[in-house]
Structure formats: C-alpha cells, structure tokens
C-alpha cells in the first residue's frame, strides 16, 4: 500500500536541508547601521576625539525606544565620533523598547548601550546584574556638565551608572499670545495669579482651561503630571522626593492637597473643558487633542510638556509672537521655581574600551551640541550646561533649555516614572482617570496607597 518516495525526492530533501544551513549563515543581524562617511555637522576637526584613541573595526550597539523620524538626528550625531575614531555605531530602535530591553538583559543578550527613558526602568535593569557602572571619565563629565540632581537619577544604590542624555520640560502652560495681547492678560507669576487669571477668563463666559488625558491603556498620565507639578509647588522638592520614594504615604496630607489643587482646575466645571465638553470629557479626549481648542479660541490655557509643540497642525507658528506659545507654570510664590521634567539616560552593559569611549563621548558638551546641530527642526534639548542655547532651532526649545539652565530653578524628575510599575504605569493612571470621572480625591489617594507593592 505504502508507495515509497523515489530517489529524486530524497535528494531534494537533503538538498533543502543543506541549502538552509548556508542561507542562515548568510543572514545575520537585522539592525541598520549608522556607520558611514561624511560627518553631518562637524568638519575634519578630530582634535576633540583624540582622547578616545583609534577604535578602527570596533562596533558599539545602541538600543532605544526612539524610532523614525527622531532616530536620524541621533545617528547623525554619532557620525563625528565614528569618523574620527573609526568605530562603528549600530543603532536599533524598537517601539516596545521598555519590555524588550528587560527581556534581553535577563536573557544575557543586552545591547552595549541602552537609552533608558525612566529612572524606574534603570533600577530594574541594574537589578538584573548585567549593567556596568559608568567609567570615571563619564562621572567626571557629569560632574562638570550636569547638576547633582541629574546625577542622582542615574545613580542606583550609591553607584553611578548612567549619564543623562536628552531632557524635556513638563511645567509649561500653553496659551495664545494673540489672545493675551488683545484681552490685556498678563503671564501669571504665581499660582494665585494663575487662579485669578482663570477666574477672569471664566467671568467672560469662556471656559479657560482645556485638557485631555486619553492615551489608550496609558489613559490618565497627564493627570499624574498635574499632581506632580502641584506637589512640587505646594510641598516643595524635599517632600516631593519623599512622596515619590514612598517614605510618606500616598494618601498623606501633602499629596492629598496636591491632588485637590489639581482638582481646583481640572474638576472645576467653570474652568473646563473649553471646546471639549464638561469635566468628564477630559477622560475621553486624547492628550494630543487636549490643547487644540486654543487655536480655535474655545480655550485659553493648557498645561502640557514642551513636546506638545509637535501636536499643533502644520503651519501653526509656535513662538512668543505666534499662534501659540507656552509660559512657565508658576510656583507658589515668585521666588520658588520648581521644574518638573523628564529625560533619558545612557546605560552601558559592557566595559569594552570602545563602549567606554562612546559612553564618554555621549556625556560631553560636544555631543550635546552635535545633537542639536543634527536636529534641524528642533524638538531636542539637554540639561547639559555646555549646551549652546543660542544654537537651538526653535523658540520653545530655547524657552525649555533656558528654564533648565536657570540657576534658581529646582528640577525634579517625573514622579510616576520613578514609582514601581504597579503604581507608575498602572494604579496611578487608572485611579486618576476614575478621579476625573467622579471619584473623590480621598478615595483616589487611598486606592493608590493600597495598590503600592509591599
């Protein structure tokens, strides 16, 4: 019954098995290389790179969540280093970087350098035991170019691991300079003045504030930023740190007052939600749409980070004399200047000489300025004090960089990015959303406190 295959079939079977071996051998690596001749910005001046030595034939891999189109400026900013040292930098961007980098570190297959956007994730990565402490040259650069607060975010258990890379500013309020000029409003300099201004606009029958917190499963995150900003303003940086590190309870007096303060804007039906509906409409409006009513004149104020500039439609002039611009969300009084923001850190998983050299390059003012030069449309700043603010390419970057370099400003990193994942990327978002749709402040902080991992 069983008809037996003939000889040619056997040969075919063996043939494909052999062919496979060769094909697999020829097909290794999948990431695009940033190597190439021709520096984007700097000419043949390699003097600043001589300290890294000759790294010809050596390769450094970079893994990050920064993808097209923001990846090109990064690759371009590596070119002077590649050209002068002969090393090759391989850049790999992945939207699911946050989960993938942990998987790769745990599996023993980490990249040489990971660009980590949250101190919380940095701690998790260091806990895998695969990360390497920063070399002395990097630590020295960070001491020179960054404030002690920034160095602290790259430090885990007293050991310094990762130098800061980019930065962003969250304590900003978007507004229409034209409306302010026409109506004679002035930019407020204290929280009380901001309240007065809001009341003044509300008295004209217009809802002054607009907001949107919908963001898929991350819905609620803009509220966490509001609360962090208010916590910094009402209780000060020291209490803020205690709150973030859970040395004071989430439902203690300080955080509760901060959320109540945020509520006096966000849950005030005289204030919100300009052009978008009632208070509850905040929950279903995407954060991208949240500030757009400023352009149609339906809303006057919108609190959101510096990156929000990219959300306005093409042709919108973002400048102090344009269609929209932002002002610093004022402190409790004129003298205090707390600043909420975020940023990325370069964590190394290898201590090969070429990795150390590249890591050192990334921590210099030279790289920060190269990065700005390779970002013709702006949208990137750093807290590096060596950054030449006058070279920045757009007004909002200049405003943000100016705030970062302001000596009287006290910078604090986004708190929810530092809290454990169960809070920072789950309970805090979820309960904030319920808070917008009607849950009381007390119940909200109690539930987040209860969710804190023991």
């Amino acid at each position: 019954m069983a008809s037996r295959p003939t000889k040619p079939l056997n040969l075919l079977a063996l043939g494909s098995a052999l062919g496979l071996t060769f094909t697999l051998a020829a097909c290794g690596g999948g990431s695009s290389s940033a190597a190439g001749a021709g520096g984007a910005s700097t000419s043949a001046d390699c003097a600043a790179y001589s300290q890294y030595g000759n790294l010809k034939g050596k390769t450094v891999t970079v893994f990050t969540g920064i993808v097209t189109p923001e990846d090109t400026p990064y690759m371009d900013s590596y070119k002077p280093f590649e050209k002068c040292t002969g090393a090759t930098v391989t850049y790999e961007g992945d939207k699911s970087f946050e989960t993938q980098v942990l998987v790769r570190a745990k599996a023993g297959n980490p990249p040489d350098i990971a660009i980590v956007p949250q101190p919380g994730l940095l701690k998790q990565l260091v806990a895998t035991g695969k990360a390497k402490e920063a070399p002395a040259a990097v630590a020295a650069n960070v001491d020179t170019w960054w404030g002690a607060d920034w160095k602290a975010y790259g430090t885990v258990d007293g050991k310094f691991y990762a130098a800061p890379s980019g930065a962003s500013i969250k304590s900003l309020v978007w507004y229409s300079p034209k409306e302010f000029k026409d109506k004679g409003y002035t930019v407020p300099t204290t929280l009380d003045e901001l309240k007065t201004l809001s009341d003044k606009i509300a008295a004209t029958g217009k809802k002054p504030w607009c907001a949107g917190i919908a963001s898929g499963e991350a819905t609620g995150w803009p509220v966490t930023d509001w609360m962090e900003d208010m916590m910094l303003r009402l209780s000060g940086p020291t209490e803020y740190d205690k709150w973030v590190n859970h040395t004071i309870a989430f439902n203690s007096a300080g955080p509760t007052a901060a959320l109540d303060m945020a509520g006096s804007f966000l849950k005030n039906d005289k204030y919100v939600n300009g052009g978008l509906g009632g208070v509850k409409s905040i929950a279903t409006t995407t954060f991208q749409d949240g500030g757009l009513p400023i352009l149609t004149g339906k809303c006057s104020l919108h609190r959101q980070a510096s990156f929000y500039a990219a959300n306005f439609p093409a042709g919108t002039k973002v400048a102090e004399d344009g269609d929209v611009f932002a002002f610093y969300l004022p402190g409790k009084d004129v003298t205090s200047k707390p600043l909420l923001g975020g940023g990325e850190f370069n964590l190394a998983f290898s201590d090969r000489p070429e990795v150390k050299a590249f890591q050192t390059y990334l921590s210099t003012d030279t790289w920060a300025n190269n990065k700005v030069a390779s970002s013709p449309n702006g949208g990137w700043i750093s807290a590096n004090k060596g950054l030449d603010v006058s070279k920045l390419n757009n007004p909002i970057d200049k405003l943000a960089a100016g705030l970062l370099q302001d000596k009287s400003a006290v910078f604090r990193f986004d708190g929810s990015d530092q809290m454990p994942a169960a809070i920072g990327s789950n309970a805090f978002w979820k309960q904030s959303t319920s808070w917008i749709t009607g849950q009381s402040t007390k119940e909200t902080v109690d539930k987040i406190e209860a969710a804190w991992p023991k």
């Binding site: 062919g19 989960t99 499963e217 052009g275 279903t284 789950n426 979820k430 991992p453």
Partner: protein, 322 residues
C-alpha cells in the same frame, strides 16, 4: 531592517520549513518491513508532539507554577494571587465584566444570527443580505474597535462644534444631548459587547443558515400538513433539527468571548471599569510587572474555557454516535 533583509528572513523561514519536512520524509522512507507503519507514524507524529510540548505544555505548566509566586516571581506565596482575584474590588469588577461578556455575547449574537438566517431564507437577494451581515466578520477586532470608537465619539453640543460620532449625531438630530457612551459603568461594557456581537452575528448566521438549508424537506412538509404555524415550525422543527450547529456556534463564540482582549484594549484600555480577564492578565504581566497575578489570571482563563471545550467535544461525539 530593510525590505530585502525581511525577504531574506522570510525566504530562510520557508526553507527551514521545507528542510524540516524534507528531513522527516527522508527519515520516514528509511523504514521498511512489517513494523514500518508504526515507525512511520511515530516519525510523523514526533514533530507535532515536540512542538505541542514546547509551545503549549511547557509554557502552560510554567504559567501554573508562576501563578503561585509573587510579583517578581521570586518567592512562593501560595494561593495569594488567586485570593486577590476574588477579593480586591478592581479584580472583582474584572470578573463581573467577564461574566457579562460571556453571558450576553454568545446568546445575543446567536439569536440575531438565527433570526436573520430564518428571515432571509429563500428570500430574494438572499446572498446580498447574507453578505451585509457577514462583512464585519472579515474586519479585524482592532479595526472594528476603531470603527466603533468613532461611532461612540463625543463632542459637546456647542456652537461651531460638529459631532463626529454617528450615535451622538443621531441623538442630536432627535433633539437629545450627546453622551459619553464609554465612561459610565456598567453600561459601557454593554457598548463594548455590541462590537463583539456585530462581528460574531455574521458567523452565527452563516453556520445556522447552512444548517437550516440541510433540514430534510420531508420533515418540513409533514409539519406543514399537520398544520404547524410559523412559530411552531421554528420551535418544533427548525431549532431541534439544527441543535448541533447551535451548540457549536454558541460554544465557539463563548470561547472567543472569554478571550476577548483587542476590543477592550483598543476602545477603553480597560479604563472606566471595563477591563476583562484577558486584558487584565496582559496589563498585570507586562505593564504592572506583576508576573504572579498575571499568571494566575491566565490560569483562571484556562480553567474557565475547559468546561465549554469539554461540552463542545461531548456534543460532537454524541452527534457522531448517532
């Protein structure tokens, strides 16, 4: 990765598949003699057994093991994770929603499919009417969710502001005020269930329509002669005749509903108390970094599916035995 690299990888994958099949065929031909059949069967079954063991049994066992450990997967906590599922108010809401989904979706989708199948049976333009209700079936869950997100979209009833959601526009035309459909529990869960019914009713209709057409003509004729009316025909002839098909449709939709994830994640992200077990399992495991609770939820899902599958198989066996 460039396009050519992707194609190379795809080519390599196809070759790998061919090579494996080739090797199996090659080995299978090496056997001869009286015991050959048994050996050949073993060779053919082996890859399947290995793949099921590696891809299903091992991860399944590992998940059950993990569900008894804490968030980091390092220390044993016994049945704590399961206790959390049945006691914490958030998780109880998740269970309630899952029950709503599983109770409502299969029955409503099947009922709509059945009634529709009977109504259009032998009608003019039957195939066109069938295509209409079957079309949503060909849309992915995420695609359908995005479509319905727009249907439910809310804009305030203000001057210079246009509604962009279909449902609210209809409401405004009727003189009502627009609603935020997805915000208020527990009603929002029903608005999500509508999407699943929209997708699955077409599946139910197709299978049941085929079953109805397979009812022997003589039974129908005999019933008519006995003077059975339209309702009686439905109650005493149609439904009993298509019972096996009904069971398959109900259980298939039931299993699909238990695993529903895409709709919830796309439309609300599990916010506003709309999360279900499959979605909660994902967010606990991958967002909240709570491996233990995530694994426990996955095990719960597995346990819930078992009785439906078992019932389905028993039904199939009894039909075959007849």
């Amino acid at each position: 990765m460039t396009t050519s690299q992707k194609f190379t990888q795809m080519g390599a994958a196809v070759l790998l598949f061919l090579a494996v099949v080739g090797v199996i065929l090659f080995v299978a031909t090496r056997f001869s003699g009286r015991k050959a059949d048994r050996a050949v069967a073993t060779v053919f079954l082996l890859p399947t057994v290995v793949m099921v063991a590696l891809g299903l049994v091992y991860p399944g066992a590992k998940t059950i093991y993990q569900s008894f450990f804490d968030a980091a997967g390092s220390s044993f906590v016994g049945f704590d994770n399961y206790a959390t599922i049945f006691t914490s108010s958030d998780q109880v809401t998740v269970l309630r929603n899952t029950v709503l989904w599983v109770v409502v979706t299969p029955f409503v989708a099947t009922a709509i499919g059945l009634v529709y199948a009977i109504l259009i049976d032998r009608a003019r333009l039957e195939s066109f009417a069938k295509a209409l209700i079957f079309l949503p079936m060909s849309i992915s869950f995420v695609g359908a969710s995005i479509i319905w997100k727009f249907v439910y979209e809310y804009r305030p009833n203000e001057q210079d502001i246009q509604q962009i959601g279909l449902l609210n526009q209809v409401l405004v035309w009727l003189g009502g005020s627009p609603q935020q459909w997805l915000v208020n529990p527990p009603w929002n869960t029903f608005f999500l269930i509508v999407v699943m019914i929209w997708i699955q009713a077409g599946f139910a209709m197709t299978v049941l329509s085929a079953a109805i057409k397979a009812i022997p003509e003589d039974i129908v004729e005999a019933a008519r002669l006995d003077g059975v009316g339209a309702l009686g025909m439905f109650r005493f002839v149609t439904v009993p005749s298509i019972r096996p098909a009904l069971v398959v449709v109900l259980t298939t939709i039931g299993i699909g509903t238990l695993k529903v994830f895409d709709i919830v994640r796309t439309m609300t992200g599990g916010q506003f108390d709309t999360s279900v077990v499959a979605n909660e399992f994902y967010s606990q495991s991958f967002r909240s970094a709570n491996q233990g609770l995530g694994a426990a939820l996955a095990v719960l899902l597995f346990v819930l599916v078992i009785p439906i599958v078992a019932y389905n198989i028993r039904q199939l066996r009894s039909t075959e035995a007849r």
